[in-house]
Symmetry: C2
Subunit: 201 residues, 2 copies
DNA sequence: TGGATAATGTTAGCACTGCTTACACCTAAA
DNA sequence: TTTAGGTGTAAGCAGTGCTAACATTATCCA
């Protein structure tokens, strides 16, 4: 009955491991995650984690999923409801690029762990993507957006957003370790440019 | 004098290791590269590789450098000399996205090994970037490109290019395992869109 | 030409990893 | 209260990166 100093069961090992791994990936990248080390940190034997995660890859997938949820939350928070299409798109781009600038390693993991889980993680969620396309159609009806394949427009917009984010993460020389504020400015300027066009051909 | 079956020295171990690692990364990704396995394949002891590469990271950096050279070559080949700015930019984008589609793992390594070597690898080379900016200024003088900060225009163009490439690599649902030809079409359509602009705001 | 020197290989081994198997314990449901 | 299943442990296998000490060969200079 007396609660021994070290109870046989940890209580919520799964969450503890996941949280520790999340922090580690965020600060040092996935290659410095070791299951044995996580187990030590949690005060548990090195085989225990395998009761909760079949594989190291599965653990990292879970970390990626959590990161994706976090990004999703920030995208939702930052998007002003009932604003016009272009404003919404700009806000999304800003939030996306900021997340990449603030959590480059998590952002990177999100993408690269996609093949393991079979589900695309790195970019906009499917649901969000459909919404974007709907917004574009709406904009076209309102005469705000030129008539062209909405899917292509969505894809191009996504590419610009994703490209900016990845350039920050990948250490583009002019974008190295961008501050959040600079990330915001860059995202705004670039989306502006996409809207007005770059050439007159 | 008689050439024994297994001469003590390999001859060109460095190149053999590098080539094998290059192939392996291209086909299976960097995490399935093992120095010991490379040594076995080369018929050499497991300590020998360290005479040529201080580190596993150094080996992978060398692979990344080779991949970058390969991409550079393809970019050069594909760019028509003495064409107008927009044509050149489109050609570059196409070549870039195609390379990513054909060698996703090499493309990925190029970017992620940047932090190790301290040099940005994933995107356009510095030299090429300067040339792009020069082209843009030229285009502005010729009235082909609107007056705006040339660096911003270059950055935005790069972002679109890089973003398309990464979306292919990262397994975007609509872009999963794109054929070379489809990659070409996509790159063309998207750059076209960037040139004409997406909104009328 | 010969002999030191540097380059490149070998063997053995350390510390670490992911992961498995067999067993121990504790909890919750029948 | 028993029993089944979830969760922990200990021990160990196969593999890894990397190092230290030693062996062999190529190269270059007296």
């Amino acid at each position: 009955m007396s609660p021994s100093r070290q109870p046989y069961h940890h209580g919520n090992l799964r969450e503890a491991l996941l949280a520790a791994a999340f922090r580690l990936v965020d600060s040092q990248g996935p290659e410095s995650v070791s299951i044995r080390a996580l187990a030590r940190e949690a005060g548990v034997s090195s085989a225990a984690p395998f009761r909760h995660f079949a594989d190291k890859a599965v653990l990292l997938d879970a970390v990626a999923a959590r990161a994706r949820a976090e990004l999703d939350r920030k995208l939702d928070e930052s998007t002003p409801r009932d604003a016009d299409v272009l404003t919404q798109f700009r806000a999304m781009t800003v939030a996306y690029v900021r997340f990449a600038a603030e959590h480059p390693r998590l952002f990177d993991l999100m993408q690269s762990s996609g093949s393991t889980s079979g589900r695309f993680l790195g970019d906009l969620e499917d649901e969000r993507r459909l919404k974007l396309i709907a917004l574009i159609c709406e904009g076209q009806n309102a005469g705000l957006i030129p008539e062209a394949d909405p899917e292509l427009i969505a894809l191009t917009s996504e590419a610009l957003t994703h490209g900016l984010a990845r350039m920050v993460v990948d250490g583009h020389p002019r974008l190295a370790s961008l501050s959040s504020e600079d990330a915001r400015k860059l995202a705004l300027a670039a989306t502006q440019l996409l809207q007005s066009g770059i050439g007159l051909s």
